[in-house]
Amino acid sequence: MELSRRDFLKASGAAGIGGVFLFGTLDPTAALAGVPRFLPLKNKVKETTTICCYCAVGCGAIVTTYEDETLKIEGDPDHPINEGSLCSKGLAMSQVHQVDGKPNPLRLTRPLYRAPGGTAWQEMDWGTAIETIAQRVKATRDATFDEANSRTEAVASLGGGELDNEECYLLSKMDRALGMVYLEHCARI
């Protein structure tokens, strides 16, 4: 027995006189108890274009931020390479910042320091961290500097295919000024 929805309405309408008697109408598509079937989207704060941070296809994405401080990321439909598409990783990029509407709890939020032989992290302020790192770099460089070749082989630099071009350039510039020759990044591996 196969009844279409319309047949069912007819049948129940016909058979269920009593129901009509009791409850007026049986049409289930009639407006229901005032529960909205449509609600507008959340209010946007802004849309920002970005380029995906994973592989090097260079897909465009749009970061939409909302008034409730949440964000969503989707492919940029105007971008000629991805035409609005993103893969699983590109879409999950929003979780780098935010998971289920809250900041990703695994993100680093302040400088950390681990002392020699230490077994735990200590929090450190930026000023101390920068000052100490600068001192370590200088001390190691000065102790190992080969003046004839303007280099130190005791300080090394790694990174970064994940940095912006401008950051890569600055890193290349500062590394070389410091005389680093062990200077690599993930392009080699």
Binding site: V96, M174, G179
Partner: protein, 806 residues
């Protein structure tokens, strides 16, 4: 990529080898699919049947590390077919645009897998000289390709040993499938047809990785697929800005813009330019070809080096002090400064300090157990990252005794990609600007600002210490960014005309007299007075007359917004495109020059140009034509089959030379696995849902949900032998360590018949580590500390291992 992502749609045949594009570059398949909708064939060559293979017309299984045999056989097939059916090939391209016709030194010898004498892991200078042209400045050419010493005939002889039976015995590919691949791909040799090769780390990560790519290049040149739309050899780069970071040359052997690093012997700037080979004197002019002029673009390198030094040292860079050339560090030619070399030195305790900027070598480097141990020899380690990664936490890794590790560790919280502003360059060389959407969490800062703070502080310390060695290299460095932002750095990278203070228009305007600056000549033209920041352009209309998908007004690409490089090879000697449907450059006339893409030099077509101005198409080569015979490599002018450092075979089935004689073999904690104990071929790779060391994806719950645990893959036969079923916990192990993982038992790996033996592969994922949300053992625990002869890229893709139930 010589071409770019969208251009894949113009291809007639796509061979994906050494890449798993569908999984690792999913959006590339938008364009692969579009090509296939128009009838293009897709070939997938891989030891494992992947998501890429699932969409392929032909899937050819191949033992890991056998690209040279596989491609060599295809080259042999083509060379033989070319003589029988020259009409099926673009012989004009092969003879006029490649060095196929050039005559090689008559002393060249190839014997039993060697191209001459090898001493201490290096070919002797005498041997290398025999690889060169008979006349090194004005080599003769035989356009009939008959001369026994011409490249074509030497290649024919070399690859004649690569017959299909021999090849398939090495690679394990079924012969009928292999011949199908040869036929299908070779069909792109016809004029007007284009085939593309998409490759990635499956090609490069071998002790002969460079020669694997050489093989692809030879194949593509013989089929006239370079410079044309829908062709090219396309390295699918794996990291969002690994192209840009390579262009900025965060690498031991090059300075920004692929300029050579100075060596100890480079007493001054001119010595350096001369030694580097990037100078006008290096020009080679082939004789007897239609073209008679090679532009040898690298001859301009001095302009770029001086402009770089002006950008870095400003007024301290003057003619009198060689523009501050001596501030640049000079390398010891005897040392290997690459990643593996760095960790070898670290293992020996020679490196005291390391800073990592968004890089995680404790997972990403080969032989992880060794590299993690080596980190303990540092006095200090800085990790600037957005997560607490395995490198920062190396002292706290399972099995480590934190108390005995005396490395000071600084962790600096950085901003993620959309918490800051700047440009990144994709695999197709498009430099695209991205903007800040949200603030970084807590007190985290963009790397740019962290670098600025660190360098300002270092400069301050050197300013205050007048007796510090090498002080001037630091104090004279131009570093006046104030509150640094990406825009001001992008302008510096582009460079200026220092006489007017205006932004330089393009690298054509750079000079070697100190009147221009440019932080990276390749990026000169990205930011101009007229157009502003071109990386931020969003012109979504394809303005090419035939709409081949260049989108030249979307962002900007190097060099000078040329979307398909070597595009002068896409037209014949008369300037007519080989492919009228997908021309790259077209409609030359002396007034308007070329239409379409930015040409590789705007000169007239060879047949229209005057004597002595008939420019050859491959402008970056000293001889102006493409090298199918590539004598610049350290391990021979042609690819030759070698076994990986760890091979399941006891000999090379092709010659008496088992492994690449020039490969770099690490010594630090680098145990070698033997086939008797570890009979299976291990290979590492990625999956769609995770990325690189996993730290950027293992902390994202949606991706962890999709791929929650470290796993390995193996065929059903091997699994049955070992009593392993899908989902079991297993241990994959070799001489360097062991990896715990979940077994994925699959039909997608099949045992292969090689040299009379049955070879099983074990596929090992490389994304996991001990930090973050989803943790597990790193695949690189198993990989060896050995590297390619030319680049020292680690041999991640082939090693030996064994497996047991956990």
């Amino acid at each position: 990529m010589t071409n770019h992502w969208i251009d894949i749609r113009n291809s007639d045949c796509i061979m994906i080898i050494g890449s798993n594009a569908a999984e690792n570059h999913p959006i590339s398949f938008k364009w692969v699919t579009k090509a296939m909708e128009k009838g293009a064939k897709l070939i997938s060559v891989d030891p494992r049947f992947t998501r890429t293979s699932s969409k392929a017309d032909i899937y050819a299984p191949m033992r890991s590390g056998c690209d040279i045999a596989f491609i060599g056989g295809m080259i042999n097939y083509i060379l033989n077919d070319m003589e029988r059916n020259p009409g099926n090939y673009n012989m004009e391209y092969v003879t006029q645009y490649t060095n196929a016709a050039l005559i090689i030194n008559s002393n060249f010898e190839f014997d039993d897998g060697l191209f001459g004498e090898v001493k201490d892991g290096k070919y002797t200078t005498d041997a290398k000289n025999t690889w060169k042209y008979g006349d090194t400045k004005t080599p003769a050419a035989d356009p009939t390709l008959k001369d026994p010493n011409c490249v074509f005939q030497l290649m024919k002889k070399h690859f004649s040993r690569y017959d299909a039976d021999t090849v398939c015995n090495i690679t394990g590919t079924p012969k009928d499938t292999y011949l199908q691949v040869c036929q299908t791909y070779t069909a792109t040799g016809q004029k007007g047809k284009a085939g593309t090769i998409m490759y990635a780390m499956g090609t490069t990560q071998h002790t002969y990785g460079t020669q694997n790519i050489r093989g692809y290049a030879i194949l593509q040149l013989l089929l006239a697929n370079m410079g044309v739309s829908g062709g090219g050899i396309n390295a699918l780069r794996g990291t969002s800005n690994v192209q840009g970071s390579t262009d900025m040359c965060l690498l031991a052997h090059i300075l920004p813009g692929y300029l050579n690093v100075p060596m100890e012997s480079d007493a001054d700037l001119d010595t350096y330019i001369k030694r580097s080979g990037k100078n006008p004197d290096a020009t080679i002019t082939p004789q007897g070809l239609a073209g008679d002029k090679s532009s040898n673009w690298w001859g301009n390198s001095k302009k770029y080096v001086v402009s770089l030094l002006k950008a870095w040292y400003g007024d301290s860079a003057q003619t009198a002090n060689d523009f501050g050339f001596h501030y640049l560090p000079k390398c010891d030619p005897a040392k290997n400064y690459t990643h593996i070399g760095m960790f070898e030195a670290m293992g020996e305790g020679k490196i005291k300090g390391l800073w990592c900027w968004g890089q995680n070598p404790a997972v990403g480097g080969p032989n992880s157990n060794g590299e993690r141990e080596a980190l303990g020899n540092l006095d200090w380690l800085v990790s600037a990252d957005i997560w607490l990664n395995e490198t920062a936490e190396f002292w706290n890794r399972p099995g480590a005794d934190a108390a005995s590790i005396n490395t000071e560790v600084f962790v600096l919280p950085a901003a993620c990609s959309y918490e800051k502003e700047g440009s990144i360059s994709n695999s197709g060389r498009w430099a695209q600007w991205r903007y800040k959407a949200v603030n970084p969490p807590g007190v985290a800062l963009p790397d740019l600002e962290i670098m600025n703070l660190v360098m300002l502080k270092i400069k301050e310390l050197y300013q205050a210490d007048s007796s510090a060695p090498g002080r001037e290299a630091v104090t004279n460095l131009v570093w006046n960014y104030g509150d640094v932002n990406a825009d001001m750095v992008a302008r510096e990278v582009n460079g200026y005309d220092l006489t007017t203070g205006k932004l330089a228009a393009s690298f054509g305007s750079l000079k070697d007299d100190g009147t221009t600056s440019s932080g990276n000549w390749l990026y000169c033209n990205q930011y101009t007075e007229e157009d502003g920041n071109k990386c931020a352009r969003r012109g979504a209309v394809d303005a090419h007359p035939k709409e081949i998908g260049l989108y030249s007004n979307w962002s900007w690409c190097w060099p000078v917004n040329r979307r398909i490089i070597y595009n002068r090879a896409s037209v014949n000697l008369d300037g007519v495109p080989w492919d009228s449907e997908h021309p790259v450059i077209l409609d030359y006339d002396s007034e308007k020059k070329w239409q379409g893409d930015v040409p590789d030099g705007g000169w007239a077509p060879i047949n229209q140009a005057k004597e002595g101005e008939k420019y050859l198409p491959f402008i970056m080569k000293p001889e102006g034509i493409a090298r199918i015979w590539g004598y610049g490599r350290v391990d021979g002018p042609l690819p030759e089959v070698y076994e990986p450092w760890e091979s399941p075979l006891d000999r090379n089935l092709m010659s008496g030379t088992k492994t690449n004689p020039c490969a770099f073999i690490g010594k630090y904690r680098n145990e070698r696995s033997t086939p008797s104990e570890y009979p299976y071929v291990g290979t590492t790779y990625r999956c769609t849902e995770h990325w690189q060391t996993g730290i950027m994806t293992r902390n994202l719950p949606w991706l962890v949900e999709l791929m929650p645990e470290m796993y390995v893959e193996m065929d059903e036969v091997l699994a049955a032998e070992k009593g392993i079923t899908a989902g079991d916990k297993v241990v994959v192990y070799n001489a360097r360590g062991e990896v715990n993982a979940v077994a994925v038992v699959t039909k997608r790996f099949q045992p292969l018949q090689v040299g009379g033996k049955t070879i099983h592969h074990i596929g090992v994922l490389n994304h996991w580590g001990y930090s973050g949300m989803s943790t597990g053992d790193s695949g690189n625990i198993l990989t060896p500390h050995v590297g390619d002869a030319n680049t020292t890229i680690p041999e991640y893709k082939t090693f030996l291992c064994n497996v047991r139930r956990a």
